[in-house]
């Protein structure tokens, strides 16, 4: 039983990161119906930018670790958000009227471009974050010891998700995003600046993805230029699992995927973990083709 709880908590912590990356996928899909394959690489850029900022200004030496981490979080979120906006301008906006497949191909191209750009700029070797940045305390839950930083990551992911949910549901800009998601043409007729809404979506989604990359860097300590691919794939899966386009769904899908993986690794076999996770995805999609929280949308005339 102790092992079960331990695996559950392991899974929730990994799932929190999947969820955070999945939010960016889901937001972009919800508004543009575009699967942004470059999202995983924006995540990697977040991890590398975080390390660059920490190292180049020696932030961790000048400020207390907690303040340095917060400052780097804000800067990384902002910088990756800007890259996201540029990406949308350069790679997606020119294709907005075109076939949806063209945009997906453009996204794949952007992904390959980013991955190789990171390799050329930073080199192929593994980089290591300074490890005194991580809060070093352990919490005991149900007789299971959990590194406190796992709970912090889970907490930060949930907090960011709730803030995003509130923003979408409660504010005027949020209402504009929702309106654009339902029907961009009608939203434009109602006086909503659709281009601005889309730019906003590309600020928030990549920003969150970049922060998730930084979180992974600080927590696991090790980053390399290919890391975005596997996290991107997992996050994409999480978004589909929860119902793509649905924000609480992305969170639920991420956590569920993380827990499924941990339990599969613990009770089936480590090598089968991804296979089991994808089997669960297939089963859920057979039962609920729109994902767990996805709604079946009927076209009303």
């Amino acid at each position: 039983m102790e092992q079960f709880f331990q695996q559950l908590l392991n899974g929730l912590a990994v799932g929190g990161i999947y969820a955070l990356v999945a939010l960016g996928y889901t937001m972009v899909y919800g508004v543009l119906k575009l699967i942004n394959f470059a999202h995983g690489d924006l995540f990697t850029i977040g991890a590398y930018l975080g390390l660059t900022l920490l190292a180049s200004w020696n932030l961790a030496g000048v400020l207390p670790p907690a303040v340095a981490v917060l400052a780097v979080f804000l800067m990384v979120g902002l910088l990756v958000a800007l890259i996201g906006v540029v990406l949308e301008r350069a790679a997606y906006r020119p294709l907005r009227g075109a076939n949806r497949l063209s945009a997906v191909v453009s996204a794949l191209g952007a992904s390959i471009f980013f991955e190789n750009a990171i390799m050329l700029i930073y080199g192929a070797r593994v980089y290591v974050y300074p490890d005194f940045l991580r809060p070093d305390f352990t919490v005991n839950l149900f007789g299971v010891s959990v590194p406190g930083v796992r709970l912090l990551i889970l907490g930060a992911s949930v907090a960011l998700m709730l803030a995003l949910s509130a923003f979408i549901q409660r504010t005027r800009m949020g209402a504009a995003i929702r309106a654009t998601a339902i029907d961009p043409g009608a939203a434009r007729l109602m006086g909503i600046n659709v281009d601005r809404v889309i730019a906003l979506v590309f600020l928030i989604g990549p920003g969150l993805g970049g922060m998730a990359g930084l979180m992974v860097g600080i927590y696991y300590g090790q980053i390399d230029f290919t890391m975005g691919w596997s996290y991107g794939l997992k996050a994409f899966t999480a978004a589909i699992l929860g119902g793509i386009g649905n924000i609480p769904g992305a969170m639920l899908g991420g956590l569920l995927l993380g827990v499924t993986e941990a339990l599969a690794a613990g009770y089936v076999a480590m090598a089968w973990k991804d296979a089991v996770a994808f089997l669960v995805l297939i089963l859920i999609l057979i039962i609920r083709p729109t994902g767990i929280l996805g709604e079946r949308t009927a076209d009303k005339l």
Partner: protein, 376 residues
């Protein structure tokens, strides 16, 4: 990314006729080196290139081999079998006398037949899978020891440490899986129980799930046979779980970045078996080489596999100096080679092309995070 490499490779192929049309320069011997200059093993590959370049420069400074200057032809294999096959084809048609390389058993395997069909001698440098020399290619050699030799050394180290219940973990790469299986066989023969045998997925960051499962199996030693990035993550996350079981590894863990990834505290006490690096050896060859390397690159080699590439060059240089430029004669000469002083100890090959001798030593990570070579 592979797409990009594929494209570069295709372009390179298209250029081949142009390159090979050049007349062979008189008084020049070309030697081919395949190594992963990009990709996940780029740091090993860069070091291979550095080391062999250094040795070639030394040869040329001494007047070359029998009056001929040596020119090194380097091809990037990206640590990827498909790219490596293209690299091997390029080298084969560049008119090289022999091919050195490469790192990774599966990558080397993709190049073996290409080099063999070109009629050239190939000396693998970081390819330990048993079957590479068991398939009976006449001109394939390797300066790296085989998985079964390492498995026996690992089992001996485990027995010597008095461990009774061992958990074996690999990463499904042909190297790590081979080593884990060879070790399991050797351990069972020695009467040590293997209570856990499973693989993890390399390249991931979170190994807490497998560590939790391992902890439940309660071994008194965890032997992970994979590479240093995963080893570092395992050590780090094991410490975070406050689980104090000793952990050991094979020669793919012999890389200084291991301690950076794990953190010195989590790495302390970790031990692995590996052929020794030149900086840990007291032979004249190792000392001279190290001094020259430091003078040229202002650092020390961090990967033992790169040093084995240097040994491969030494063997080829020896054959050419003995006038064995013809591949058949070179292969015959190498099979007779015994006790040549190399960078990693005495150098020699058996009839299969495997390196002979016992190189494995135990290293322990001390409290400062440095690798300490244990006395035999």
């Amino acid at each position: 990314m592979n797409r990009v490499f594929g494209l570069v490779g295709a372009l390179a192929l298209a250029l081949l006729p142009v390159l090979s049309a050049q007349p062979a320069t008189c008084g020049e011997i070309k030697i081919g080196l395949m190594c992963p200059l990009t990709g996940k093993w780029a740091s090993e590959g860069q070091d291979m290139k550095n080391i062999v370049t250094l040795l070639v420069d030394e040869t040329n400074a001494k007047g070359g081999i029998n009056g001929d200057t040596v020119r090194l032809v380097v091809e990037d294999d990206a640590g990827d079998p498909r790219t490596a096959a293209l690299a091997a084809q390029k080298l084969a048609s560049a008119g090289v006398a022999a091919v050195i390389g490469t790192y990774g058993s599966a990558v080397t395997e993709a190049t073996q037949n290409i080099v063999d069909e070109a009629g050239l001698v190939q000396i693998g440098t970081g390819s330990t899978s048993v079957r590479l020399t068991e398939k009976g290619l006449e001109r394939f050699f390797r300066t790296s020891p085989r998985d079964d030799a390492q498995g026996k050394s690992a089992a001996a180290a485990i027995e010597k440490g008095g461990y009774k219940a061992v958990a074996l973990l690999h990463d499904n790469s042909s190297y790590a899986k081979g080593l884990a299986e060879e070790s399991r066989a050797a351990l069972e023969k020695a009467g040590v129980r293997v209570i856990f045998f499973d693989a993890l997925t390399p390249g991931e960051r979170d190994y807490t799930a497998i560590l939790t499962k391992l902890k439940a199996a309660d071994p008194d030693l965890v032997f992970f046979t994979g590479y240093y990035p995963e080893t570092g993550m395992l050590l780090r996350q094991k410490k975070e779980m406050s689980w104090n079981v000793p952990m050991m590894g094979g020669d793919a863990a012999n890389h200084q970045d291991l301690v950076k990834i794990a953190g010195p505290e989590a790495a302390a006490g970790y031990f692995f078996i590996s052929p020794p690096l030149p900086q840990d050896m007291d032979t004249k060859e190792a000392k001279d080489f190290l001094a020259a390397y430091k003078a040229k690159y202002d650092s020390v080699p961090v990967s033992v596999w790169a040093v084995l590439a240097g040994d491969a060059y030494k063997a080829i240089e020896g054959a050419l100096a003995a006038g064995k430029a013809d591949p058949e004669a070179m292969a015959a000469w190498l099979k007779e080679l015994k006790d040549m002083p190399g960078l990693s100890g005495s150098l020699g090959f058996d009839a299969k092309g495997d390196r002979v001798g016992e190189f494995y030593r135990t290293y322990v990570v001390n409290n400062e995070g440095a690798f300490e070579l244990q006395p035999r």
